[in-house]
Amino acid sequence: MDSRGAVVFKGTRDGIKLLIDEKADFAAIINDLRAKLRESSGFWQGASVSIGSLTRELNDDERSKIADTMREFGLSIASASRREGADGDLADSPAGSSMGSKKTETAEQTLIVRRTMRSGQRVNFDGNVVVLGDVNPGAEIVASGDIIVLGTLRGVAHAGALGNESAIVFGLKLDPTQLRIAFQISRAPDEKVASRPGPELACISEGSIVVKTYSV
């Protein structure tokens, strides 16, 4: 692994994972584990941690030794997953990790587009999309998560494109050609409505898309 040691606590959407470096020998793993747990003892009290190994599988003996060590410090084992693919690297910081297995609503990855999107340009992303600029008419954003436009949205935005009905579309000014969330499609009313100043947020409420003025 790297200088972080033979074991790493990682915060993920599903709770805390303990990742183990397959290259280290087992004694080093236990030592590192004890050292880390000692450093932050008290913080981990009562936490539920699942064990994952980057590439090699732990045998039962190793697994129970790790479990004992953790119990010593007040942690319990959630589940031991057999093989992890290399996770997206979240910072190994307690502040970043979600304690226990509290699920958050948002998808993990976010794409930041640091320019105005012009007519004919299109962003497809599995995750959230943030645009630092305008989205001009004729531009399209399709995201599985939320869409946040720090500018004026005049094009087409499709949030929750894989079916997530709790996805939102936010804009400093919402003036889209069409808004789509999950499987709902919506457009501005045909009669000219006075344009409302200020940021707005669109979401699905009681089965259809509603646009609300945004306030903190």
Binding site: T116, M117, R118, S119, G120, D134, N136, P137, G138
Partner: protein
């Protein structure tokens, strides 16, 4: 020092690219700059007609690209000013008769001999467009104050950026101040808000343009035309001068009367 190659493009057809090319070139030439105009609208050539030089065409852009003649043989000197030359294109061929790298070579050759090379781009975003921008260092986008034209211009700006042509300038053509005042026509601020590029000129709608294009006499040569005045101002801005924008809005009949009587509007 090689000359500057500027492409005049729009996306939308009929907004005034050819008119701007011809007049920008003529205005720069009469101030003493050497200018080459290039028509890249192969198959639908118009620049020669608008310049009044169509009966002087012997060789064209496609002949040069194919190596049938030297570039010098295809260039037509303008009948009014010796500073201005035209490279026409073929009417009997299509856009794919030339490719971008041939175009780039020709533009580079022209830039070695002329202070300005102005390329008239065809409408669209396909092969013709790609040919026209090859070899250009700068771009001027022409639009009219209409939603469809602005939409197309926005697309073009995105395409130019993806091809490495940044900071295009904007000309808004065929503006009718009375309609803008009544709210029937987009005003310049609305257009800039969407396109977000630097404005280099606003040209009023002027019947003199129709007359001049039919006659083959660029309107900048007509001292009485407001559009001609606007185009001359654009040429001066292209040349680096700071020229204030013309006040197109003379206020309408009532305020004109008020001005005559001496009352404030």
């Amino acid at each position: 020092m090689p000359g500057k190659a500027i492409v005049i493009t729009s996306g939308k057809g009929g907004v005034g690219k050819t008119t701007v090319t011809a007049n920008l070139g003529m205005a720069l030439a009469i101030t003493g700059k050497t200018v080459a105009l290039v028509d890249s609208d192969t198959g639908l050539r118009n620049l020669d007609v608008v310049m009044g030089l169509e009966n002087r065409i012997v060789y064209d852009l496609v002949d040069v690209a194919d190596g049938h003649c030297k570039l010098q043989q295809a260039l037509i000197r303008d009948k009014r000013t010796k500073n201005l030359c035209l490279l026409p294109t073929a009417q009997t061929k299509e856009k794919d008769a030339v490719n971008p790298s041939q175009m780039q070579a020709i533009i580079e050759q022209l830039a070695a001999d002329f202070e300005y090379v102005i390329i008239d781009c065809p409408a669209g975003i396909e092969h013709g467009f790609r040919n026209a921008i090859a070899g250009a260092q700068e771009a001027i986008i022409v639009t009219t104050p209409e939603v469809s034209a602005v939409r197309d211009a926005d697309r073009i700006i995105g395409l130019l950026e993806s091809q490495g042509l940044y900071n295009p300038k904007l000309i808004v053509n065929r503006v009718r101040p009375e309609m803008v005042r009544k709210g029937d026509m987009m005003d310049i601020d609305d257009i800039i808000e969407i396109l977000a590029i630097e404005l280099i000129g606003v040209i009023p709608d002027d019947e003199a343009i129709i007359v001049s294009t039919n006659k083959g006499e660029p309107v900048v040569l007509d001292g009485k035309s407001r559009a001609g005045q606007a185009l001359s101002n654009i040429a001066r801005r292209v040349n680096g001068e700071q020229v204030p924008f013309m006040n197109l809005d003379d206020g309408g009949l009532v305020s004109r009367l008020k001005k005559i009587i001496g009352l404030r509007d």
